[in-house]
């Protein structure tokens, strides 16, 4: 059979539509925004591409760097929690019986069928002061208190609702909730390909479960773990809806600042510079990771 790569005409005709699409609707608009980042506002609607670096200089001021760092910290924390929670879930799906597996996978993907905004509002209904979470905890508190009185003990005091919404906790919870499927799916794909006889061999040869997990399963699933980390971390870093709706007075992330530049502040050049700084940082992180993994491959 002829290699499809050799059939140039066929290859070109198949590739042209997506290439055109990508250039027209991705590269060109992104290029425009990139140009804006070297521009200055003249008047209310005009931007003069003057080649200035002033926007970048302003974006690197301590105020914005601090917000960048905070966003990286929140996104990093989200990623770590997703990994810790997602890994056992992915393992459980891999080891589930074939009858159950599609249902469990469906359960992971089900939230994608609902709009992010709706899910976030639902989360608000759960977390608010008089929301479902506090109502449930309050109910249990009362029952427990009643039980203690029954047992002749001092009853608990009145229940004070927990502050679950409008703080950084709510933001991280919301981000973990939204991004968990992004972590579980690549992990599942990686673990599913894993040769299970290696695990049996490791256990037969006397390694414990923890040791097997850390020295056999984790290294073999490394590509899945890394891609899971990247596709969780990158969108979490750019999250703006979640901190906006669930966050408190100090929960702004860099994407919120970028959004305000394009809307309220009407300062597109500065907003463009901030977004491109975010992109440069992401690119560098991914390139660094690619370099590392190539080095690791060469060492083997």
């Amino acid at each position: 059979m002829q290699d499809w790569k050799l059939n140039r005409a066929l290859f070109a005709s198949i590739a042209s539509a997506p290439t055109l699409w990508l250039v027209l609707f991705f590269i060109v608009p992104l290029g425009l925004v990139w140009l804006y980042s070297f521009g200055t506002n003249v008047g209310l609607t005009e931007i003069d591409i003057s080649g200035t670096f002033a926007n970048y200089a302003r974006a690197l001021e301590p105020l914005y760097l601090g917000i960048f760092l905070k966003s990286v910290w929140i996104a990093g924390l989200t990623t770590v929690i997703c990994l810790v929670v997602g890994f056992p879930v992915a393992l459980a799906i891999v080891f589930a019986t074939p009858k159950w597996r599609p249902w469990l996978l469906l359960g992971i993907m089900l939230p994608f069928w609902t709009n992010l905004l709706i899910r976030t509002y639902a989360l608000m209904a759960v977390l608010r002061t008089e929301g479902f979470a506090n109502q449930t905890i309050g109910w249990m508190w009362d029952k427990w208190s009643g039980l203690m009185t029954f047992a002749g003990l001092q009853p608990l005091g009145d229940f004070t609702p927990l502050p679950l919404l409008y703080n950084n906790f709510a933001v991280v919870l919301g981000l973990v909730y939204v991004h968990l499927p992004f972590m579980v799916l690549p992990l599942y794909a990686a673990l599913d390909r894993l040769d299970k006889s290696l695990i049996e061999a490791s256990l037969d040869l006397g390694a414990g479960h923890v040791r097997t997990l850390l020295s056999i399963v984790a290294p073999l699933a490394a590509p899945g773990i890394i891609s899971g980390i990247i596709i969780t971390f990158v969108p979490a870093l750019g999250a703006y809806l979640t901190p906006d709706l669930l966050g408190g007075t100090d929960s702004q992330m860099i994407a919120n600042v970028i959004e305000r530049q394009f809307k309220r502040a009407n300062d597109w050049p500065f907003g463009a510079a901030l977004s491109f700084l975010l992109m440069y940082a992401t690119f560098i992180a991914i390139a660094f990771q690619a370099m590392k993994s190539r080095q690791a491959e060469r060492r083997q």
Binding site: T45, R128, E130, P163, D250
Partner: protein
């Protein structure tokens, strides 16, 4: 699913969720209707094709207004929704995508006039301008009403839960400069409004804010921040109604809407005075149906049509003829229509292109602090 329903119902005109949902529905419906209409398409009395694209806030028109207009003029109105003035501005910034009538707030009228984005109105085609109250006939943000007609006006103040607050919290102090209601306060996330009202509290005009004053207000807000629960986006009435907070910085119309549902809620215009806003009807440059647009604006200023709008949206109307048709509990409502002496202390905020980025950056610092 009580509380979820209540979220949908009570979020104000600038709500994101409702805006998106309704916009999606709006597109489907109007799309389908436009399709049916084509067969019998003739010309409207204005000589243009009988269509009009209206860009409005959510829940900001009477329930039957658009149908009534179609019955009288034969013009089919296609309404899309925006959630903030910035969204409106951003959409029109790169050229008008086909809107005939838009509803910018007063400061954005100034901004859009400066940016040459609005069409001059032909007053001879808007005879119902006579219905507009004297105070709204000539305004600083649009001298001679060359570009905009008043649609509603509103004022910012404090909405509060009576049973949880001592007396009447009639000063901005309780929101900006006091720990008395710690953790039970929510204020607007709009940088400009926050700094202008901060200036008002400190005894300055909302239009005379200097960079030095911004520094002072910024320090005050950073000090106050630990006591504030959230910065909300014009859905403060929802936070107040659900018991999340007990004091909110909100528009009078938004609070009037929830007062109808909960007796324990009230609204006060702080004694230092406040900021007035007015939403207006305007025609953007490049509107495809300018004649229809004039006819539509004229219709919205009609007494009967204005009454139906005011009945539904419960915002103060600048239309005296419509107000006269409204029941007494609307006309005499001190929340919807504050007294003249209270209003004397309120001002319209002028658009200041130089200060806006300074407000934004200062507020970013407040949030980051």
């Amino acid at each position: 699913m009580n509380s979820f329903d209540s979220i949908r119902k009570r979020i104000g005109r600038r709500s994101l969720l409702q805006g998106l949902g309704a916009a999606a529905i709006g597109i489907t419906f109007t799309g389908a209707l436009a399709g049916c209409e084509k067969k019998e398409a003739g010309k409207a009395s204005t000589g243009e094709e009988p269509k009009l694209n209206f860009y409005n806030w959510d829940t900001y028109i009477g329930e039957t207004t658009l149908d009534d207009f179609k019955d009288t003029s034969g013009i089919e109105v296609n309404m899309s929704l925006f959630a903030t003035n910035d969204e409106l501005f951003a959409k029109l910034r790169a050229g008008n995508p086909g809107f005939d009538v838009i509803v910018p707030s007063n400061d954005f009228v100034e901004r859009m006039v400066q940016a040459d984005m609005l069409e001059q109105l032909d007053h001879s085609k808007i005879p119902n301008f006579a219905n507009v109250g004297a105070a709204f006939k000539d305004v600083a943000y649009d001298p001679g009403r060359k570009f905009s007609m008043p649609y509603t006006w509103l004022t910012l103040g404090i909405g509060y839960r009576k049973s949880k607050v001592d007396g009447v919290p009639d000063s901005w102090k309780w929101l900006f400069d006091s720990d008395k209601y710690k953790g039970r306060i929510s204020v607007l996330s709009e940088a400009g409004d926050m700094f202008r009202l901060g200036a008002k509290y400190l005894g300055h005009s909302v239009n005379g804010v200097t960079p030095e004053l911004v520094k002072q207000i910024e320090a005050m807000l950073i000090k106050q921040k630990p006591f504030i629960k959230a910065f909300h986006e014009d859905n403060g009435q929802d936070l107040l109604l659900s018991g999340e907070v007990d004091l909110v910085l909100e528009y009078n119309g938004d609070i009037a809407q929830i007062m109808a549902e909960d007796d324990d809620i009230d609204f006060v215009l702080p004694k230092e005075g406040s900021q007035l806003n007015s939403d207006t009807l305007a025609i953007p440059k490049g509107a495809p149906h300018p004649e229809n647009a004039h006819a539509f604006i004229n219709y919205l200023l009609d007494a009967e049509a204005g009454k139906k709008i005011a009945e539904y949206i419960l915002f103060p109307t600048p239309n005296d003829a419509a107000k006269a048709l409204m029941p007494a509990d609307y006309r005499d409502n001190k929340v919807i229509f504050p007294t003249a002496e209270q209003l004397a202390k309120c001002e319209y905020a002028a658009y200041d292109g130089k200060m806006q980025p300074i407000f934004e950056e200062a507020f970013t610092r407040v949030r980051a602090a």
